[in-house]
Structures are given as structure tokens and as C-alpha cells.
């Protein structure tokens, strides 16, 4: 069938466009497109999109300003840092670092928390009270300090950052999943599954878990932004990823002492963090309203 488009029937276009716009408006278009262009595309295709190697620079080209400023050139649209490395390329590779760290940390922390929460809520009793006490304590510890102790003890590295983040993240998942499990396990279909001879593990994984996936997804989305902020703060303090990793937090730290002479070194990575976290928060809010309105307090 030939498609009738706004172009073939121009006089009919306005209502169509308006209608389509209304449908689009129901989705968080702005945050999704910012995320795609600032985080996802750079992260996935970093080596194809980035014009230069993020780790190699030439000292002859150090501290070039961005293209629109005097002395800047289109070769390095966002300028170069004090080692002559291209800021844009480092930011593109930085997106990959941010995405990778947050994905791994949330996946590991979420899996651990979910498993513990399911077990705790399903079996109850002494295991439950012990685990929940642990959750309370872990949520009340000052987070950045814990990270600093760990980094002071073992030194900064990718795995240290992941361990720190997992230690900080698991408790929220455990508490959320445990609460939902407590409610779900009283429902009829669980009793029937038990009568039908399903094992404990099967009930937890096949019957309870699918019912908490929505809440987990919302919490995970809301946490990606938080984790990116936390990771960049740790890197900024020298307690996160080691140099010369092109991490946004490290780039801002590099620009801190150059603020009088070269503002662009720390300004652009900060903008990238802000845009990413802002749109992740908006997306998370939208997901929460649509998938799981009862999570409003999280």
C-alpha cells in the first residue's frame, strides 16, 4: 500500500503532525536523545567517532582553546589539554568509561542485592533479620569515606572502583526486593506453585523474580546517574580510576589548576556529566511513573 505522507497530502499535514507530536510527547524524547548522543553513541563507537587517540597528544599543541576562540582551530573543536591531547576525543572515550563503570557496578550490585533480598524475604526468620540489620548499617555508613579507606589501602584501579560502588549499591536493591518478595510470597499463585512441586529456587527465580523486574529496572535507571556522579567524584579526588584513563572526573581534576588560563579543560567534561545525569534522572522519573508508581519515595 502506498503510504500517505504529509508530503503527498500537504493540506492534511497539520493535524497529522500535531497528532504525531502528541504521541511523541508521551515519551521522554529530549532525555533519550541527549543520552543517545552524549552517552550511548560515543560509548559504543568510541574508536570510530573520536578524531584522535585519547591517550596520545603532542606537546607542540598543548592547551589549544576551542575552535570558536582566538587561537583555536577546527582540528581540535573543543581544544586540547596540558599534554596536547584532544578534549573531544577524551570525552568520547570518557563516555565509554562512565557507561562501563556504571553498568558493571549496577549489574554486580543489583544481582547481589536481588539475590540476598529474594532469599531474605522468601525465607524470613533469622537470616532475614540479620541481613536487614546489615542493610541498615551499610546504608548509614558515610559513603565517600569508605571509598577513601579502600583506595588508601589498595590503590586506585578499575576493580577498586567497582568494589567500592558495589558495596555502596547492593543494600538498596536488597531492601527493595525483600519488601516486594514479602508481599508476593503471600499471593495464591505462589502457594499453587508450591503445591505443584516447584522447588524454593524455582519459585524465587521463576515466579517471584519476574514480578520485581519492573521495580528493579526503575531503581537501576535512577541509579545510573548517581553512580556516574559518584565515580566522577571519586576520580576527581584521586580515589577512583587511575590516570591516564580518559574519565570525565579525572579530566575535570586536570582542569582544576588550569582554571585561570584554560577554562575549557574542565568545562566540557562537566557539561557532559551534567547533561547525562540530568537526562538519566528525567528518564528514571518517567519510567517510575509508568512502570512503578508506588516507588515514588525511592
Amino acid at each position: 500500500m502506498a503510504t500517505v505522507t504529509a508530503r503527498t497530502l500537504p493540506w492534511y499535514a497539520p493535524p497529522r503532525v500535531a497528532h504525531a507530536w502528541r504521541r511523541v510527547k508521551r515519551y521522554p524524547v529530549v532525555s533519550l536523545s541527549i543520552l543517545t548522543f552524549v552517552l550511548v553513541i560515543p560509548a559504543v563507537f568510541a574508536q570510530y567517532v573520536a578524531p584522535y587517540d585519547p591517550l596520545k597528544g603532542s606537546l607542540a599543541k598543548r592547551l589549544r582553546p576551542p575552535a570558536w576562540q582566538q587561537g583555536g582551530s577546527i582540528e581540535h573543536p573543543l581544544g586540547t589539554d596540558k599534554l596536547g591531547r584532544d578534549i573531544l576525543s577524551r570525552m568520547i572515550h570518557g563516555a565509554r568509561v562512565s557507561l562501563m563503570v556504571s553498568m558493571v557496578a549496577i549489574f554486580v550490585g543489583g544481582t547481589l542485592g536481588t539475590a540476598l533480598g529474594l532469599t531474605s524475604g522468601y525465607f524470613g526468620g533469622r537470616v532475614d533479620s540479620l541481613l536487614m540489620r546489615l542493610v541498615d548499617i551499610s546504608l548509614s555508613l558515610p559513603t565517600i569515606l569508605l571509598a577513601l579507606v579502600l583506595v588508601a589501602a589498595v590503590g586506585p584501579s578499575f576493580s577498586t572502583v567497582i568494589i567500592v560502588l558495589v558495596v555502596l549499591l547492593w543494600a538498596r536493591y536488597a531492601r527493595l526486593v525483600r519488601g516486594e518478595t514479602l508481599a508476593i510470597k503471600e499471593r495464591d499463585f505462589i502457594a499453587r506453585a508450591r503445591v505443584a512441586g516447584a522447588s524454593h529456587v524455582r519459585i524465587m527465580t521463576r515466579y517471584i523474580f519476574p514480578n520485581v523486574v519492573n521495580s528493579l529496572l526503575v531503581l537501576a535507571t535512577l541509579q545510573v546517574g548517581y553512580v556516574i556522579l559518584l565515580e566522577s567524584a571519586l576520580s576527581f579526588l584521586g580515589a577512583g580510576l587511575p590516570r591516564p584513563t580518559p574519565a570525565w572526573g579525572l579530566m575535570i581534576a586536570d582542569g582544576r589548576e588550569l582554571i585561570v588560563t584554560a577554562w575549557w579543560v574542565s568545562m566540557f567534561p562537566g557539561l557532559a556529566i551534567m547533561l547525562t545525569v540530568l537526562s538519566l534522572n528525567l528518564l528514571g522519573d518517567w519510567l517510575r511513573d509508568h512502570l512503578d508508581p508506588k516507588l515514588r519515595h525511592v
Partner: protein, 306 residues
């Protein structure tokens, strides 16, 4: 009431104890604690001396007892980066600067957040409300350390209104306080807004309006007093965030407080100092929680009997 206080105090002690256990195990789990405690250039006589000081030739539980015994007396050994200073002495020396900055930041954020929160509740759905929403959203998404650098670039480098870093008169405090308090502005504002909305809806507000009180008095006297209780309970969380946030803010503005001390110590791998700062911060954090719990139980008797 005494029983409640005793119970909560015991819980707080437990939390501080857990923190000390974490610090103790971390150093030992990650290999020979001497490698962590001593700098790279330490000689064999340093190893022998520190080993004896901490009783590292003894079994682990004895070591822990020694560690705890010394920690209770505030002895975390001597700093390696700053020769001739004890770790705890350094912390006490730097703490006033941190408390000063945190207090000022709290003041700044309350002064901004309270009126905006009240206005956005009273004028729900208007431009004010939208402005408040944007502030709240930005508060959650701006990395504090970057905000500090941007403020420094605009107001210190380009406009020259404030000094870029260091500690001195009030003009040195303004930019760091805004940086530190920014996140709190968003949090306090949202709390004030939601509890104001609740109070505005209640019967006694209708009564005071019927009585013919001016709208100004209804909102700023009768409503705000009742709405302020809920944000008060979050004071402990806010105090905690201000303490940990000071680590980031102080290193941006080179503010000579405990936060900058701990960051420098981490970079130098001066574990003695890191240990002391973490235990002191955790202690302050947990004590504030305890105080607020007691205050709240005093204000609201229902809590005592739970």
C-alpha cells in the same frame, strides 16, 4: 525516655564499632598492613618500630584489641606525610575549618531553600513552582566539584569578586559554601514544599483564614512552623552529606579543613591519617543521627514507644 536514649546510644556505639572493624579488616585483608601504613621509602627499623607499636607479631584478635584500645584513646599513630604530627592531632587542628564551612553552607542553603520552598507550595503550578522544580533537578544532576570550578571561573577568575581559594574572611567562604550547600538547597526545598502543601490543606489553616488573619501571617507563621518539623528530622542526613561533601568542596577550593587533609593523605597513602579522619567523621555522623533521634522523640512522643 531514658530507655529510648540508652537503646539508641547503644546502637550508635555499635555502628561506630562496625566502622572501626571495617577499617581494621580492610588494612589486614589487603596484605601486610605495614605496606599500607608505611611509605615506600621506610627502612627496616621503621618496620620494626611500627610492627611493635601495633603488636603485629601477636595473633589477630590481640591486634584488634590493641588497635581498639589505642583508637578509644584517640591514638592512631603518627602521620607519615606530615612528620612530627600525630594523626589525631592533625584532625583536631583541621576540624574547626571544616565545621565553619559546613555551618556556613547549611545557613546559606536554608536561607535560599526555605523561601523558595514555601513560595513554590503557596503558588503551586505557577512560574515560581517551575523555577523551584528546575533548581531541584539541577541540584541532583550537577557534580558539586564541577559546580565549584564553574563558580570559581565566573566569579573569581572573570569577575574577580571573590578569591579563588584559601581561607580568610567571609569573602573566602561564599563560593565554597554555595558549592557545598547546592545539593542541600534542592533537598531542603523539596521537603519544605511537600510538607507545606500538606499543612496548607489542613483544617486549622482554613480556620485561621476564616478568622481573618492576613495571608502573610497564615503562611509564614502558622503554616511554616508546622511544616518545619519534617525537614528538621532530615537534619542528620543533611549534616552527614555536608561532612562527606566537604571532602570534595575543600579540595576544589583548597580550603584547609579535614576534607582536604584526607584527600592529601589518600594521595600520599598516609593510612594513619585516613584512618583517624574516617573514624572521627563516622563518629560525628553517627552522633548527629543520635541527637536528632532524641530531639525528634522529644518532639513526638509516639516514637518513644515503638
Amino acid at each position: 525516655m531514658q530507655r529510648f536514649i540508652a537503646k539508641r546510644a547503644l546502637q550508635s556505639l555499635l555502628a561506630i564499632w562496625v566502622m572501626s572493624l571495617i577499617v581494621f579488616t580492610l588494612v589486614r585483608v589487603t596484605g601486610n598492613p605495614l605496606d599500607v601504613m608505611l611509605p615506600l621509602e621506610a627502612g627496616p627499623e621503621d618496620y620494626a618500630r611500627v610492627s611493635k607499636h601495633w603488636g603485629l607479631d601477636q595473633p589477630v584478635y590481640v591486634q584488634y584489641a590493641i588497635f581498639l584500645g589505642k583508637a578509644v584513646q584517640g591514638d592512631f599513630g603518627n602521620s607519615w606525610k606530615w612528620h612530627g604530627h600525630s594523626a589525631m592531632g592533625l584532625v583536631w587542628q583541621r576540624l574547626p575549618a571544616t565545621l565553619q564551612l559546613a555551618g556556613f553552607a547549611l545557613l546559606v542553603s536554608v536561607v535560599i531553600a526555605l523561601p523558595v520552598g514555601v513560595l513554590s507550595a503557596v503558588m503551586k503550578g505557577t512560574v515560581w513552582d517551575t523555577v523551584a522544580k528546575v533548581i531541584a533537578l539541577l541540584g541532583q544532576s550537577l557534580p558539586a566539584f564541577w559546580l565549584g570550578i564553574v563558580l570559581m571561573w565566573i566569579f573569581a577568575v572573570n569577575l574577580g569578586w571573590f578569591p579563588t581559594s584559601g581561607r580568610g574572611g567571609i569573602q573566602y567562604m561564599i563560593l565554597p559554601a554555595i558549592t557545598l550547600g547546592w545539593f542541600q538547597v534542592a533537598a531542603i526545598m523539596r521537603l519544605v514544599r511537600s510538607s507545606m502543601l500538606e499543612v496548607l490543606d489542613s483544617e486549622f489553616v482554613k480556620l485561621s483564614r476564616i478568622k481573618g488573619l492576613s495571608e502573610w501571617k497564615v503562611v509564614w507563621k502558622h503554616c511554616l512552623r508546622n511544616a518545619a518539623i519534617a525537614p528538621l528530622t532530615f537534619f542528620a542526613i543533611i549534616a552527614g552529606v555536608l561532612m562527606t561533601g566537604s571532602v570534595v568542596t575543600e579540595s576544589v577550593f583548597s580550603w584547609p579543613g579535614t576534607g582536604l587533609l584526607v584527600v592529601d593523605a589518600v594521595r600520599a597513602r598516609d593510612f594513619q591519617v585516613v584512618q583517624a579522619v574516617v573514624i572521627v567523621f563516622a563518629g560525628i555522623f553517627i552522633l548527629t543521627n543520635l541527637l536528632v533521634d532524641i530531639l525528634y522523640a522529644y518532639l513526638d512522643p509516639r516514637i518513644r514507644y515503638q
